[in-house]
Symmetry: C2
């Protein structure tokens, strides 16, 4: 089955399993709104690509891992958009959750998605108990303290932040979780997959900084120029636009060179190269070529 | 070891395990502030009391379950206090987290505690893998959708809420989780413990409504009269003060009568009766006698 179909189906099933009698309808609507229609589902597709490269012997477990990672990503977007953080009116080309519903439901929808991520892994590993704890730990590490996305976001609340630590936690952690969890879900040794995810995450963050500095808000479905406006750390502010583009190319090259030995290494390399080609707006992609 | 010592030690160890190099200091400070010094730790003490009544064959697993439940409770308090919900300036006799730090760190500290709850269970069940998924599911059900505390809080965002459904989700769910998780952590059959937790949770919620209507803000360490002020559902508004006190007594009696057969049933009964005696302010406790 195509990865995108697996992901959407798993997300739909996980949310439907929580949509029982007695669920407050506006909360459920806010959760669905935060998750569907999704963005490019880059992290869960990376997770499934690694699981497939490692044999994917338990597809339901890999689906749950991918699904959990995407839910945690969506939760972080909902909370990051809140008035006390980015105060973003739009996300993925439509009103942000707190704009479409209200601030309370945005807080709660994020909370509910964090819970649902762990719940989904627990549900889908009932027939493979040893993979439950291993996956939960990989995923929790990428979201919590000291180095997960919550910690990354919290660097914005410190008087001084190290750009690299900030990016590693805010973006890299969930990408690293995508590769490591993909391997763990397929029963492969997980540790060697960490570096690949970190490099892809860093590449993605650099591309995000480039889009924020030089992209188009209509194409992106969210406001641009926020890093400079809010004084946030950014690779473009640090390295300049051309320097940031060079850094991005270098990271993608390192990523594909460092794919651990596995049955599906060639397909995985093709997946990563194809994905990275889509990271920049068209004009800049030509400039990078 | 005394339950309170077990709980504080387990909470300290779980948080210390997340306080690695690279953790944003203000986030860690906000998390500790949200958790220490604690309140009465009613839910985790109930969880340990049930685990002990069931033999407590894996104390580290029971500690993790108790710890997770208290962390989720603390997370819900931090988010409930936010300006968009109760806008509470105080909690447990000191400034609320968003007052002591800021709103962003209150959102993130709550998120971090939700993650840490599941992470702690995963860590402490590595030597007992089949208990990992079972405990995660019990705990997740009590926090998420459709009937957990997040759903309970979300009923405040609906145009109409059923008092009983609201209380069952907002308070009862975590108490039910305390008894069910206590049994599951000790390897006992978990399902028969649901009703006990639900009854204790309902009793606690009725007592909370009574304290809000007739308690003293200095004694409680938080503002009173909020239910009437915010138009929130309340047993006192529905049944009157005396009716609410009668309802509370009835629920406690039903709870102790319904303790499932287990080796430590008598000790557990004593624990529950002793706890319920502390639920009301002194003047009202006499009125209830």
């Amino acid at each position: 089955m195509v990865a995108m179909t697996r992901i959407e189906r798993a997300m739909n099933e996980a949310i439907a399993a929580s949509d029982g009698s007695g669920c407050p309808p506006r909360l459920m609507a806010a959760v669905r709104y935060a998750v569907f229609p999704g963005g490019a589902r880059i992290r869960p597709r990376l997770c499934l690509a690694v699981a497939e490269a490692c044999g994917d012997d338990q597809p339901a477990v890999a689906d749950a891992a991918a699904c959990a990672i995407e839910m945690l990503h969506c939760a972080s977007l909902v909370h990051d958009d809140l008035p006390c953080f980015d105060n973003a009116d739009e996300r993925r080309g439509k009103p942000s959750v707190h704009r479409a519903f209200d601030e309370r439901l945005a807080v709660l929808a994020g909370d509910a998605l964090i819970v649902l991520a762990f719940q989904t892994i627990a549900r889908q590993t009932m027939l493979a108990p040893p993979r439950c704890g291993a996956l939960q730990l990989v995923v929790a590490r990428s979201v919590g303290m000291p180095l997960g996305i919550v910690a990354g976001q919290a660097w914005e609340c410190e008087p001084e932040a190290d750009l690299s630590a900030y990016h590693r936690a805010k973006t890299g952690a969930l990408f690293a979780s995508a590769t490591v969890a993909g391997a763990a879900a397929a029963g492969a040794e997980a540790a060697p997959w960490q570096l690949l995810g970190e490099r892809i995450g860093e590449a993605y963050q650099v591309a995000d900084d480039i889009r924020d500095a030089a992209g188009d808000s209509v194409d992106l479905g969210k406001p641009v120029g926020q890093d400079a406006l809010l004084g946030r750390p950014s690779a473009v502010l640090q390295l300049g636009l051309d320097g940031a583009i060079r850094r991005l190319k270098c990271l993608v090259a390192e990523a594909v060179e460092g794919i651990p030995a596995c049955p599906g290494a060639e397909d995985l390399k093709a997946h990563i190269l194809s994905e990275s080609g889509r990271l920049l707006p068209k004009g800049l992609a030509l400039r990078a070529a």
